[in-house]
């Protein structure tokens, strides 16, 4: 049974694991720099100083949430709306954290909850890929996340100071970089025909929700619908 894969074996948290995570995240961090440049530039146009933009990138560390709130960033700041939007965009993290829990709940609290800060879509997916291969070094998540953090904050600063460098990422095809990485990860997760139903349901619900609901609800709803469809199928 595949769910046992995530609980068997000794769980470690080593420097070697962190370095392995950082190495695997290099291409992601590079394309993340392109997005960070765009964020820094747009933040400048929204009235945030370079220092404020970097502070947001360092403390919030979530591209999706940060781009969404830029659209709300008008004086006087609608603080409650901004914070609520951030919370809604971040809800998918709850589901992602649940998926990491079989391994991370066995770590000392400081390491587990310290790592949680660095959990982004990309290093989370890579970490689950490592666990699925039987590797159990939980520092992989933080290593990759730290590199992405440096790339994200550094490029935010660059974008905020050198404004207008990359106003349109689609001109460089960069809008597709993350999609390509996610697709490659999905391809690696293919286990057979049992994936067809949950993935079809996830795709259908995500497209429908993307079409009819604002913001990032489609990720959460698609993820919930697809994973429940997978369990329902297994039950018969």
């Amino acid at each position: 049974m595949s769910e046992k894969n995530t609980t068997e074996g000794r769980i470690t948290f080593t420097l070697a694991g962190a370095l392995a995570g950082a190495r695997r995240c290099v291409p992601i961090a590079i394309s993340g720099c392109g997005i960070g440049l765009v964020f820094g530039t747009l933040a400048g146009q929204a009235g945030l100083g370079a220092g404020e933009a970097v502070l947001m990138s360092a403390l919030v560390f979530s591209g999706a949430a940060q781009f969404v709130v830029l659209g709300l960033w008008v004086a006087p700041l609608p603080v409650a709306t901004i914070v609520f939007a951030t919370l809604v965009v971040g809800l998918r993290h709850v589901l992602m954290g649940v998926a990491l829990a079989p391994v991370f709940s066995k770590l000392p609290r400081l390491k587990a909850y310290g790592s949680a800060f660095f959990m982004a879509d990309e290093n989370w997916a890579l970490t689950l890929g490592e666990f699925a291969k039987g590797r159990r070094d939980a520092a992989f998540l933080e290593g990759g996340g730290l590199l992405m953090f440096l790339a994200w904050t550094g490029s935010t600063f660059a974008g905020g100071t050198l404004s207008g460098v990359m106003e349109d990422p689609s001109r460089w095809g960069l809008d597709f970089a993350f999609t390509a990485v996610f697709l490659a990860l999905i391809t690696g997760m293919w286990k057979g025909r049992s994936n067809i139903l949950p993935w079809t349901v996830a795709a259908a619900v995500a497209v429908a929700a993307h079409h009819s609901l604002p913001g990032q609800w489609y990720i959460l709803l698609g993820g919930l619908a697809g994973s429940f469809a997978g369990v329902a199928r297994r039950g018969h």
Binding site: I82, V94, G97, S105, T179, L183, A229
Partner: protein
């Protein structure tokens, strides 16, 4: 111009955003370690990563027009053959760029 000056109201808003995001990042771990998971819940967990990743990409690809559909196919073929993340990324970005250039020249 004070590029590094930070407005107190902005700082306050960013701090609350940081708190909201961290709560979501730590929340799943906290919930799952508080409550014992049944075998059925374990099976559900197994399906979450794939379902979330599919949900992340499906609207981009399926509503992104023929360029993105073709680029997605190219990425899937390359990653099945090579199992390499950088190769998949270069293929995706390269295919999108090439097809957009082609489209622009044909119109």
């Amino acid at each position: 111009m004070h590029a590094v000056a930070i407005d107190p109201g902005t700082l306050f808003t960013i701090a609350l955003m940081a708190l909201a995001t961290y709560v979501t990042r730590a929340g799943g771990l906290w919930l799952a370690s508080r409550f014992d998971l049944s075998e059925r819940a374990g099976a559900w967990l197994d399906h979450i990563p794939g379902a979330i990743l599919v949900s992340l990409v499906a609207p981009t690809i399926l509503m992104g027009g023929p360029v993105k559909v073709f680029a997605a196919l190219a990425v899937v073929i390359v990653s099945l053959r090579t199992r390499s993340l950088p190769a998949a990324m270069v293929t995706g970005v390269g295919t999108v760029l090439a097809l957009r250039a082609l489209q622009a020249n044909l119109l």
